[in-house]
Subunit: 418 residues, 2 copies
């Protein structure tokens, strides 16, 4: 019997601990896995040997559910890319990792992360094969941006989309109370892909008439055209509501806010850099002159576990569990993916993808899911998004707040040395 190791990497999501929970539960159920370890702060925890025992931390089934409802990485994260194993520095790191794996008698390694982490999975699986070690390495995807190829969507995205659509609906209600002209600009995460910004359109499926304008990073942004678009909306309604991706760029490729704020310094000469929302707010105030405000949804988009999508939570848990089953069946160097079978009823198949085809690639919004003018999404987008935000999660609470589950990070000695 071999042991298993799991780690998390990249940016936080609301669902990433559900994948951890699914994998750990599956490992505990299996008769082929002995100890279940977690590395703290991703691959860095393997290099530094900050490894903890996971099996002993869950005394009740409710603990797993509480973990699933806890945002951000329970095991911590890192932003670290493994260098090329052919380089001298790279070789030493890979040897170091192998030594740790041998010490802890690891037969199965699971890495939950975005496309940088899938690059690690790819390199490690090749390295273990090359040195003739039967250590199976599997990738479990997560990202709020939903920008991974091969998979219909990524765990973590549905919950972020649910937070964005709900927040947008509530902002729409907030905007409608006064009987005056106003523009509200909501800035949404996603530097390259517009999936999250598109989710801001969902209130229109429940009768809201806003947001009227939606700008994704897939289409070049023209501030002059934006002002014209706002003016058009103001002809028909008092409250113009705009959803804009933080990543929109001018035709010359530079980020909108970056280009215009290049000279911005405060009274002490400190450089200011605010987001595109603040920039557009200033533009509207200056050129249109009506009441205007900008709202940045900020990190709540990725950590609002109080508003998880039940669909997302269940898929994240299942994908973690399936990864363990596949590793036990002999797979390695593979990544878990989802294929959509149908929308009504919503059905997905969980399958395997080739990790080399997911690493370092991006899945953007197809141009045909954006309208011709580049300021809205089309019907296909609604069909695609709606099932992903479905379902409420009744998370455990304490003192009127979510009750999170935190891991005991006391380090575990290698087996045989306890």
């Amino acid at each position: 019997m071999k042991n298993m190791l799991i780690a998390q990497s990249g940016g936080p999501t609301a669902a990433i601990n559900a994948s951890l929970s699914g994998a750990v539960q599956e490992a505990i159920r299996s008769r082929e896995i002995d100890r279940v370890y977690g590395a703290l702060n991703g691959i860095q925890g393997i290099l530094k040997r900050t490894i903890i025992d996971l099996k002993s931390q869950f005394s009740r089934q409710e603990d797993f559910f509480a973990l699933e409802c806890t945002p951000a990485m329970a095991l911590g994260s890192c932003r670290f890319r493994l260098p090329d194993p052919e380089s001298a520095e790279g070789r030493a790191l890979f040897e170091n990792i192998l030594e740790t794996f041998r010490l802890y008698d690891i037969g199965y390694f699971f890495y939950i992360g975005g496309n940088d982490s899938m690059d690690t999975v790819y390199k490690l699986s090749l390295f273990f094969q090359e040195v003739g070690e039967d250590i199976r390495v599997m990738g479990i995807p997560k990202t709020i941006d939903n920008d991974l190829p091969l998979t219909d969507h990524t765990p973590g995205f549905g919950s972020a989309a649910k937070f964005i659509s709900t927040a947008m609906l509530e902002i729409i209600r907030d905007c409608n109370v006064y009987d005056t002209h106003s523009v509200t600009i909501v800035e949404i995460m996603g530097r390259h892909a517009g999936w999250l910004t598109a989710a801001a359109a969902l209130p229109r499926t429940v009768g809201a008439r806003a947001p009227q304008l939606i700008y994704l990073p897939e289409v070049p942004f023209d501030p002059e055209q934006f002002l014209k678009d706002v003016a058009e909306v103001q002809k028909i309604t008092q409250n113009c509501i705009v959803a804009v991706s933080e990543g929109v760029r001018l035709a010359n490729g530079s980020f909108v806010a970056e280009d215009f704020q290049s000279g911005l310094v405060d009274a002490f000469g400190h450089r200011y850099l605010s987001g595109v929302g603040k920039y557009l707010e200033n533009l509207v105030r200056d050129r249109i002159g009506c009441k205007v405000r900008s709202i940045e949804l900020n990190v709540l988009q990725r950590c609002s576990s109080h508003l998880m999508s039940a669909t997302d939570l269940n898929e994240a848990r299942r994908i973690g569990s399936h990864a363990v089953r596949h590793a036990l069946a002999g797979d390695t160097g593979r990544v878990m993916v989802m294929e959509r079978v149908s929308n009504r009823p919503y059905l997905i198949n969980i399958g395997l993808g080739d990790v080399s085809r997911i690493a370092n690639r991006e899945q953007l919004v197809p141009r045909e899911w954006i309208n011709k003018a580049g300021n809205d999404v089309t019907g296909e987008m609604f069909e695609y998004l709606l099932p992903l935000i479905e379902g409420e999660v009744a998370y455990p609470t304490l003192n009127g707040m979510p009750q999170h589950f935190l891991l005991n990070t006391e380090l575990a000695p290698p087996p045989g040395r306890e």
Copy 2:
């Protein structure tokens, strides 16, 4: 039998429609009230006679619950202060209002709002008494800021506090994933009173070790002392998390951000004004040099009905219902208030206050509920806040989003002219 009129005013809250619902339900139950009208956009709707029928809009009991879970004013709002009735302009406006009330045969008027609205209640009740009209005018308080005197707390505050404490807890989890030094600054609403900012401390009651620093507007803010405070926290932990009120002021009385950003213009000469969070972010980057970010919780604090406090919702509904009962019993020129009987179990009495004593006054955080250094709150604050955020609300949903209840705003002709 007389008719009743109700209106809403001031800034949105998550619970303001629960008071509307409570009042309308009580009116429908009563045998002494005939028609139930709502004025659109507060007192301006009375002046413009944009009046709608409410009774006919609720066909099922669930409609009331859906209304209670809908943020912002269902009847719309205004920012309008009635002038002095002694002035010529004022006299004309009061006569206009009286004419509308006679036309619609109004015997009872309820105004849901903050302390400006209570000023309207006061002036109107005096005016009606002076001209010998038996029109009873009652104030139903709401504010997220919790800055009204006479009452233990105000409907709307508990839900805003619950959103802030939950968001802060989730931000704390988000901050902890990387193994590096960072400062996170969360800017919270409340220009004069620090109650909302104090709610950011609540995660410490469920085991979180942050936020370590809390700055309320009741104590003068010193940027140099702030930098020292941050440095002290960084000696003991990697993640320094700060909650700061948007309303903190320097010892000279000016708002912190205002003073320092006075010269801030972008490349086109447009004036930039960001909040205190952004200002402190820049200050930390410049003077301490570590990773730093600022987060503005923004309007979600006041409109997040997806995270209402059940305590707040129930109190808001009850206070609306009690206002109607008191008006029927003969009261006028009074405001509904809450008196806390005990914390464990949490018990309140709903009573009446003199509206002249609530209008235009503010209830600030007592100095003794803030620590000596002015960078934290004391135990009394936790005792005070915890019951107010208690309880979850299972709001109705549609397409994975909250299902809001919107009023039909078709105008109602005066009775007898239908």
